[in-house]
Amino acid sequence: MTRDDGTQYDDRVGEQCHPKPAVGLRVVNARLAFSGTPLFENLSAEFAGGQWTCILGPSGVGKSTLLRMIAGLGQTDPATDIAASDGSALDQRIAWMAQQDLLLPWLSVSQNVALGNKLRGETTDRARVASLLFDVGLNERHEALPAALSGGQRQRVALARTLMEGRPVVLMDEPFSAVDAITRARLQELAARLLRGRTVLHVTHDPLEALRLGHRIHVMAGRPAQLGTVIEPPGETPRDPTDPALRELHGTLLAQLGEAAADETSNGAEQ
């Protein structure tokens, strides 16, 4: 198999950490309140296995909170049921990638990639670390400390760390928002290629990013928040952002987001 730039890369790595079969995700009756104000009330959603789902929405609507809830971080109301589509628990089947790279500054790049092994007291598959760093284009920087890397490179290490876990479900919380436009486009392509076949839940504030990467796109709006109807852009991901059909969808999405944001402000005014 050849990369976009023509160099060979080892496809077995992708298969090795490839989850099969894909695990879907369902959220039933999610509830959460912040100081009396309900953020979610009976929020239910189904995320298909092996699909890349993007969640858009105005800031403060609870996108990140929903993702954290699924990741098992923070308080969860006992009524909330989050499980795999087949009803089994999601324990240790989820990888979480945040907006900040969260690299530990005292560990080298390769140690950061293998952080999960270290934390669980397992031995690290060094060959796997090496091939993942090759995949994300950081072959030369194994021993570098995070402080020596650029923002884009750091996010690549974070992506490699996420992939290292080989979890079937990947939660991404605005992972590419802190880098410049060109770096972001490259990271999107990289992620689309390396995460193919996994169940991805991707929170973003960038409609174009959602249109490039998502098989399915939801707009999250309201208080308590609900997930809007699914938009399914046609074609393989990562899509060409200059495609006129995508441009048109972009307009539709922006209009939806505008409405959602307007609701948000009027809700805020009532309180």
């Binding site: 500054p105 934390l119 402080a147």
Partner: protein, 250 residues
Amino acid sequence: MSILRPLIVFAGLLVLWQAVVSIFDVAPFILPAPLDVLTTAIARADVLAGHARITILEIILGLVFGTAFGVLSALTMAYFRPARSWILPVLVVSQAVPVFALAPILVLWFGYGMAPKVVMATLIIYFPVTAAFYDGLRRTETGWLDLAQTLGASKWAMLRQIRLPAAMPAFASGLRVAAAVAPIGAVVGEWVGSSAGLGYYMLLMNGRVQTDAMFAALFVLALVATAIYFAIDALLRHAISWQPESDPAQ
């Protein structure tokens, strides 16, 4: 270059000192000339070295015990909430009661040997180490902890791999303060009652109006304190070399 400027300052002070002695014709038992102090220091190098050895040992033992108790207290406070209300008062009192006031009692309890000086140095060091390390343990970046949780880390692994290394810069600040104040504890202890050490020797020479020998001991003490501080500083810098520094003056 970095060593040159302190040396210039030091040499300048020596010249000033010599000038004051020469111009005002100060009696040698009030202020001996730096050259006389140096001559005495060289003549009594053996005696000074013997006393310095005792003081250094007291300081280092104080640092070891103070740091050990400080680290244990900080960890206990961080992980056992009920312990906070028990340890915090001890911590505050250990700092509120001047160690000078405790010195006679400690000598009474532990005798004229090394023990009361080590206890005194330990008491002085305990507070900065505990306070700084406890603070560091509580200020771990929450994102790292969240990440560790999703990676299936045990509580122990989170402490060992995330919280402890993340608290190292704060701990280092505490230890630096400790290294700077530790000699105070040892010397105060020696003043109050002892049979050896630089503080004891200073007091002895003071009584015999051998001011030049007193200054020589003071000079050695300053040298010892500075050396200990910089040794610890270098060690800490090496241990947390990953910590990027930002110079406010830039």
